[in-house]
């Protein structure tokens, strides 16, 4: 048997019902141009089940959690849900897979049950609301903004559901509100209740052992929940351990060394106090330091390597990789070494560009020698230099501060003579060209397509007078973001070489959970609509 893939792409668009269908309706009904009005223009029927029915263009996506619409009545009618393929010559609730609330006598109708008393009768001037809750698969109705209550079971399970109405008398007409206007009923409150119910259910979920093993016991069923004592639930101690591990590995991954150290220390103090409750406030705990020192040194080396890349100091980064993490440079046919060398070439070119700019500025200044040194412009230049946008956490450890050495250089700039600066330019340019030639002879005949591509674009930047001003891929290549990306790559490569995941487990936990919820929603599990992760986890309360 071929296994069909169950994966549903996330970009599948969820279309909501917003108008009556021009096709799927009884011929006695006419639809207004905006798709919201229906009127009955056939002969009146006296049968209690014959009617002219219509449904909306789109079905209701269960991933929306709760769907609700209201209908304002000019004369008698009936609102309901109907499944796909239902005939339009009957009132909803008389056909299989349809459910309805009958205005004539207030009964609720579903095909598998005869009508039973539900609400009050309704008629002209009333506004009747109809909702489906996909977390419970029950419908609910409202009359003039007041909830009548939940009704029917298993509504819309395993079939597409459409809002639907049936009209019976000549001149009957209705106007639907699919959310185009404010509803009479406080549906937001209703939804919030359901949201809370879902989260209460989630927060009652025990942390089970499968978190650690990555697989669940086979044959998990409803029956086994109630009285199976062997369902393995994590103990409090184990849960704490999982949390600590997630947080600690996250801190180490991103190089938050001081935080990691402080956390480890505080936990050790707490554990010691817990085991000897008599001396409750003795912080003087001996550090069993060898293990954490090793962690510290590792974080520091990795952080300084990554920071060197961020600062554009590629030589330092390469040296430290050669000494501490040689395999990082070697994997994939020395791909990382190549990338770093390319970046070094970029940095050399950027340096020449920078000097060229200064040279130009100096020449202009000499041209108007009698004027004062333009303090304001100088400051503006400095400021621009300081304002490099670096990362999302600008004071973080994997982040460089603006390069301080630039400042004294800048201050002395006015003292530098025109000859000195052009000498400097000369030698910088020579260095860049020499380095480019080395790259060229080393990689010209490299067969790897990735290497060839990058090699060509990298050398290509010399064609520009100022590559930072060039658009497109050139500007991208010389941008600071390219440094950040490379630094990130280096960090991940080091972690990978140590057998650690390229992404902290904490991040994977979030991504994995989010993917589960998305797939649940797409598979029609209504409760998934309420598992709003960004709202629960990232928004301030």
């Amino acid at each position: 048997m071929a296994r069909s893939t169950g994966f549903i792409p996330q970009d599948k668009i969820l279309k909501l019902p917003t108008r009556w269908s021009d096709q799927d309706r009884n011929t006695h009904l006419s639809v207004s141009p905006d798709g919201r009005d229906l009127s009955y223009q056939g002969p009146s029927t006296n049968s209690e089940k014959d009617a002219a029915a219509a449904r909306t263009l789109h079905h209701i996506p269960p991933a929306c959690g709760i769907y609700y619409y209201e209908v304002e009545i000019t004369a008698k009618d009936q609102k309901a849900f109907a499944g796909k393929g239902v005939k339009y010559g009957r009132l909803p609730g008389w056909e299989p897979n349809s459910w309805g609330y009958y205005g004539e006598d207030g009964t609720s109708l579903s095909a598998d049950k005869s009508g039973s008393q539900y609400g009050q009768p309704y008629g002209g001037g009333d506004t009747i609301g109809c909702g489906i809750d996909f977390t419970t698969h029950k419908a609910f109705y409202t009359k003039n903004g007041t909830l009548i209550g939940p009704v029917f079971d298993n509504v819309g399970k395993n079939l597409d559901l459409f809002p639907s109405v049936g009209l019976q008398h000549a001149g009957d007409s209705i106007r639907a509100n699919f959310g185009q206007e404010p509803f009479k009923y406080d549906i937001d409150y209703h939804v919030q209740q359901q949201y809370n119910t879902t989260w209460n259910k989630i927060s009652e979920t025990p942390l089970d052992r499968s978190l650690l093993q990555g697989h669940r016991r086979a044959g998990f069923s409803i029956a086994s929940i109630t009285n199976d004592v062997s369902v393995p639930v994590l103990t409090e101690q184990e849960s704490k351990h999982v949390l600590t591990q997630l947080v600690m590995s996250y801190l180490v991954h991103h190089g938050y060394a001081k935080t990691a150290r402080a956390l480890e220390y505080q936990q050790r103090v707490r554990d010691t106090n817990a085991s000897t409750p008599t001396d409750s406030s003795d912080p003087d705990v001996e550090m069993n330091s060898s293990a954490s020192d090793a962690v510290d040194i590792d974080i520091e080396t990795r952080t300084s390597t990554v920071n060197a890349v961020l600062a554009g100091d590629i030589d330092t980064a390469m040296d430290s990789l050669r000494t501490c993490y040689p395999s990082v440079l070697e994997v994939d046919n020395h791909l990382m070494l190549f990338k770093l060398r390319c970046r070094k070439f970029v940095e050399l070119i950027l340096e020449t560009t920078e000097i060229k700019k200064k040279m130009k500025a100096l020449r202009e200044k000499e041209a108007e020698r009698n004027k004062h040194f333009d303090e304001a412009a100088h400051e503006a230049w400095l400021e621009e230099e300081m304002n490099m946008d670096i990362d999302d956490d600008a004071a973080g450890p994997l982040v460089i501060r603006p390069i301080l050495e630039n400042i004294p250089e800048a201050v002395h700039e006015s003292e530098e003579s025109s000859e000195m600066i052009s000498d400097r330019y000369e030698s910088a340019l020579n260095a860049a060209i020499n380095y480019g030639q080395c790259l060229s002879s080393d990689y010209q005949s490299n067969p790897q397509p990735e290497v060839q591509d990058m090699f060509r674009t990298t050398l290509g930047i010399v064609a520009w007078d100022d590559p930072t001003e060039a658009g497109g891929s050139v500007a991208e290549l010389v941008s600071h973001n390219a440094r950040i990306a490379l630094a990130h790559e280096v960090n991940q490569a080091i972690l990978k070489s140590q057998g650690r995941p390229a992404q902290p487990a904490l991040e994977t936990v979030y991504r994995h959970t989010s993917t589960c919820i998305t797939q649940l929603g797409l598979l029609g599990v209504g409760a998934a609509a309420f598992a709003d992760m960004p709202r629960e986890f990232f928004q301030a309360r």
């Binding site: 069909s4 893939t5 169950g6 979920t205 150290r261 956490d393 991040e507 936990v509 589960c516 598992a531």
Partner: protein, 225 residues
């Protein structure tokens, strides 16, 4: 029932990659853990290293931990003073919580065998409050029943449990939650909520389809079968 479909690992990984989440989002989750769990100096360091606005005053983390410790070692008086130092409104606006602290104080008197003081305290402080609500009254009666038994092992478990460490933890937990609420912080570590959601989501999805499971300890995906 249609046959269960399955989701391949490559598709799953691609989808993981598409999830919108930033480093600063995750940093805030970590900060929430450090704050709620009471790791003050780690929270301070993290605020510096990750350049993150602290969600609460760091001193409040420490006093919250001091209060928890005081209750765990049975010093209710100290805990009450500290709660009032932190924010007098916490107890003023929450009579049930204040009653629980008073009840805990009574329990500690009885535990220490200070019977005369226990009786005096019950009459002066707790009895008037017992008149306020039947719930308070029945709790007061349950606590006073401790006096009827010479040693805890002879008492019925519903009464003996008042002397257990779990009772102290329970009181400490409720006070902790009330303080967090007064600071507009959640009662539960958000990371715990995330793990619960993971368990909930995986088990629901498992009824519908087969997909790679996650080992949270190392972040690896495990495919079964």
């Amino acid at each position: 029932m249609p046959p269960k479909s399955s989701i391949r690992k490559e598709e799953w990984e691609k989808s993981l990659h598409e999830v919108q989440v930033t480093k600063s989002d995750l940093n805030r989750l970590v900060m929430d853990y450090l704050v709620i769990e009471g790791y003050k100096s780690a929270a301070e360091e993290f605020s510096q290293e990750a350049n993150l606005e602290p969600p609460v005053d760091f001193e409040s983390i420490e006093s919250r931990m001091d209060i928890r410790e005081a209750l765990q070692r049975g010093d209710v008086e100290d805990a009450i003073i500290r709660v009032n130092d932190l924010n007098p409104e916490i107890l003023d606006t929450n009579p049930a919580l204040y009653f629980k602290l008073q009840q805990q104080k009574l329990i500690e008197y009885i535990r220490q065998g200070r019977i005369a003081e226990a009786l005096q305290f019950a009459q002066d402080e707790l009895a008037p409050r017992g008149e306020e609500s039947p719930e308070f009254l029945s709790e007061l009666e349950r606590t006073m029943a401790l006096l009827a038994f010479e040693s805890a092992p002879n008492a019925p478990s519903a009464i003996a449990e008042l002397l257990s460490p779990a009772q102290r933890m329970k009181t400490a937990g409720e006070v902790n939650a009330a303080i967090l609420e007064s600071l507009s912080q959640g009662k539960e570590v958000k990371l715990v909520g995330l793990l619960k959601l993971l368990c909930w989501g995986e088990s629901m999805l498992e009824e519908k389809t087969t997909f790679p499971k996650l080992n949270v300890m190392d972040g690896s995906l495990v495919e079964r079968g």
